[in-house]
Symmetry: C2
Subunit: 499 residues, 2 copies
């Protein structure tokens, strides 16, 4: 049996190798690939994806998984071996339930839809994108159908990104958010607006880069197992537990954008760099879910990076780096400036207080279409109505509305909620760490390694061994709960706005 | 039959995709990979190499190749289809003749040998490397044995790098070189040495980078299908006909090194960028052999880049870029400086007049060991004796002698001659182009595109459709011939040294 397990592990390691290489192909595409290289690159990605899929869904893998079940039953359920078998069985089931024909049609449809979406975004032309989006929703419905019986058609889609979480749970969470966050932003809007014009002076490129690098180095980013490059849309990618790379985008006339992006991606990378190296080349050797991952990026970007305590330490350093640009700015002004709340159209530019509402809107539209309550053709109008309701503003164009995100064109329906879950979980985990470490004192001194070590011990090292909710429970004593995040928002922003 | 051909082509394209990805993994390893990433990267390379090997040597490929033979016989022998079948059949035969066990043992042995060699080089410790090199020679003998009957045991090894070339031909070529080049360097050594101290002033980094980029842009490098990055040991790699990348290494206190390296690698890249795009994702979509490839890099680096005509155009520009550093240097002094001849220990730093002798020495040692005339343990002493004989100098250490090259540790025996062949062929091709285009006039005006177009038309576009010698014959009217290169060296260097 031991031998069979090793055999399974070796086969899965090969699939993992191919998937790591696919990640590198994507990283290269977004960082260094010359522009004409796209077509041949697509062929390479197609070839490797197919090989990985075929290898993973091979009947031999299924047989080994079945044969090893009794062996696993007799072992420590928290051992690497048993967790690997459980996650592999789950993935095998998920991938083999869906007919190859549907997988292929979905791949073809989304490949076309992405370029149509790009053009539609550019031309502000939703009707052009509409039939592709309709097809995508249709194919996602068929995908969900492969997992019947389900409680809700959205469950199997959500499960792809946040294993084990149900639509009912998500809806319950968002119900709480809706009420409290809309009230909060209404109250803030009634107060005088905070000034942040000084963030948009000329800060150049090189010094911004160096400042960001210095900050995440102090957070504990390991440069012997990672690097930072430039990309239009910043992201983090893992090519192995000893090769984790982040990207950033520097705007010379915006000192906040690159820095918070570097802290955000650095947070993702710290998670991956903290995974137990014994999990290398296995399905367990990566973060547990998108939501948990986002909790780590948001924790470093927001709970740490936008906190007053952090800037007590960091602001004198930033001022020394940019003496002319920040000569007339005080710590308090800076802190308020980077925490300015302002309802806006674009999700990726949203502040902490409004962000979750952007997600809620998308979630409601996705579920509405899947339930048959909404039609794709009505999404632009529904978008505007919900923007009005939640944020009090209405975009003039679909480019600033329903067309803004790439996700739907990729077929990633069920993905959005993970962003908001990440916010909620970040506050829960931060509170737990704070209770043990007393973070305020540490941040004010620029001492971040105790926090990284705590996160590594409690969360990072486990990789994907445990399901997201189980992880949250192990760390915080209870499941995903929006209250700590809502409390955090209320306390922080009512103080800043004296609301 | 047409359908079977398409089936074969599709299968070969998949193998090609994997091999292109392997090239990217290597490029990334040498440019951006964080240092701890090596182990997981090695696993990824191992997995993909094995998949590519298994796919290519699949019996189905062999059957298709056989079935398609009569179909090919009825078609234009110069068509892409027939050439692809011929090259594929040759490669299939080469790879399937060697038992998987031997392939695996060779891979294991060289993987270990490379790290032992690195350490041995560092510690100047040949005895440590010796048993590994003995094993490598032994395995290469077994490899050659798979291709019996052969005329010479070196033939199958040479064939791997220079298809169709025989040991007898190479030996005949080198006999001519030995006599003429050793005489030439003896005569030059008797003359007063040329001054090149001004090359080693402080030139910084950025302007050197920009100057090199400008030069190869004028050569015709297509930046939409390529890029340049930094690497310790410069190289060129192809990930598709629309993604060809070069690397360079800039020494702030040496204005010659990076520039000639960029022209050299640029020459390789121009070759690949010139391959007919219809050959993309096939075995034909790359240069014909290492020797032909080297002819292109050496043509741009030396025949163009180290010519007086080129510097008539380029020197005023270089002087404008580095006015302080070159204030007291004339065109004639600069030209002589970059063409200084000086017997030296390290091959990669050798000048044009001595380079081939470094190769000849290695060739004689490789053949001697394979023939059983020499033993591996005697190589350090043999190295010193031959250095004395050909170049008149003797290295103090094995680090500057027998240990200097990585090639043997990788098992690349039979590779070295291609460097010298490249030199010879470069002169043959340059002479043919010159006869048609009148290159002197063009170079003095900085007009390089006519030469690139000529090379593209005569050579580049064919990719690997034709064997190296056949290509040389098509372009120059005769086979590989050392005389034009020897004439070139004699004329150029006797003029510079007034010898």
């Amino acid at each position: 049996m031991e031998k069979k397990f090793q055999q399974l592990k070796a086969s899965l390691a090969e699939v993992h190798d191919i998937q790591s290489v696919l990640a590198l192909l994507d990283w290269d595409h977004q960082t260094y690939m010359p522009k004409e290289g796209a077509e041949e690159r697509a062929a390479q990605i197609g070839t490797l994806s197919e090989i990985a899929h075929r290898k993973f869904t091979d009947k031999k893998i299924g047989d080994l998984l079945k044969e090893l079940q009794p062996w696993a039953a007799g072992r420590d359920p928290e051992s690497d071996e048993v967790c690997l078998l459980a996650v592999a069985a789950r993935e095998y089931d998920r991938r083999t339930r869906v007919p190859a024909k549907l997988v292929a049609e979905f791949a073809r449809t989304t490949a076309v839809a992405q370029s149509v979406w790009e053009q539609a975004l550019h031309d502000n032309d939703f009707p052009r994108f509409r039939p592709h989006l309709e097809k995508i929703f249709q194919l996602r419905r068929e995908y969900a159908g492969c997992f019947q019986p389900y409680r809700h058609i959205y469950d199997p889609l959500l499960d792809e990104f946040e294993p084990g979480l149900t639509t009912a749970e998500v809806q319950k969470i968002f119900k709480k958010i809706r009420q409290l966050q809309t009230q909060l932003i209404r109250d803030l809007a009634a107060r005088p607006q905070v000034d942040n014009a000084f963030l948009f002076r000329h800060y150049g490129d090189r010094k911004q880069w160096e400042f960001g690098v210095d900050v995440i180095t102090r957070f504990g980013f390991d440069w012997s197992r990672g690097r930072q490059d430039r990309a239009v849309h910043p992201f983090t990618n893992t090519f192995g537990l000893c090769d984790i790379r982040i990207t950033t985008h520097i705007y010379p006339d915006n000192v906040a954008s690159a820095l918070f992006s570097t802290m955000h991606e650095g947070g993702h990378a710290l998670y991956e760099q903290g995974v137990d190296r014994g999990l290398s080349r296995t399905l367990l050797g990566t973060g547990a879910s998108l939501g948990i991952h986002e909790s780590q990026s948001r924790l470093w970007e927001n709970l740490v990076g936008r906190s007053h305590d952090f800037w007590v330490w960091a602001f004198p350093r930033l001022k020394k780096t940019f003496p002319a640009q920040l000569a007339d700015v005080s710590l308090e002004e800076f802190y308020r400036g980077i925490n300015r709340v302002e309802p806006s159209f674009i999700r990726t530019e949203a502040d902490e207080a409004t962000y979750n509402l952007h997600i809620m809107l998308r979630l409601e539209l996705e579920i509405g279409v899947l339930e048959g309550k909404f039609e794709v053709k009505d999404l632009p109008e529904l978008w505007r109505a919900k923007m009005k309701e939640y944020l009090g503003i209405v975009p003039d164009t679909d480019r600033q509305g329903v067309l803004q995100d790439v996700h739907w064109s990729c077929g990633s329906i069920g993905y959005f909620p993970t962003y908001a879950l990440g916010n909620l979980i970040s506050a829960q985990i931060y509170a737990a760490a704070d209770a043990e470490l007393g973070l305020s004192k540490l941040l004010r001194k620029g001492e971040f390694l105790p926090l990284r070590e705590w996160l590594r011990e409690k969360l990072h090292r486990h990789g994907s061994k445990f399901a997201p909710q189980e992880l949250v429970k192990r760390i915080t004593g209870r499941g995903i709960d929006p209250q700590p995040y809502l409390d955090y928002l209320n306390t922080k922003y009512r103080a800043i706005y004296k609301a």
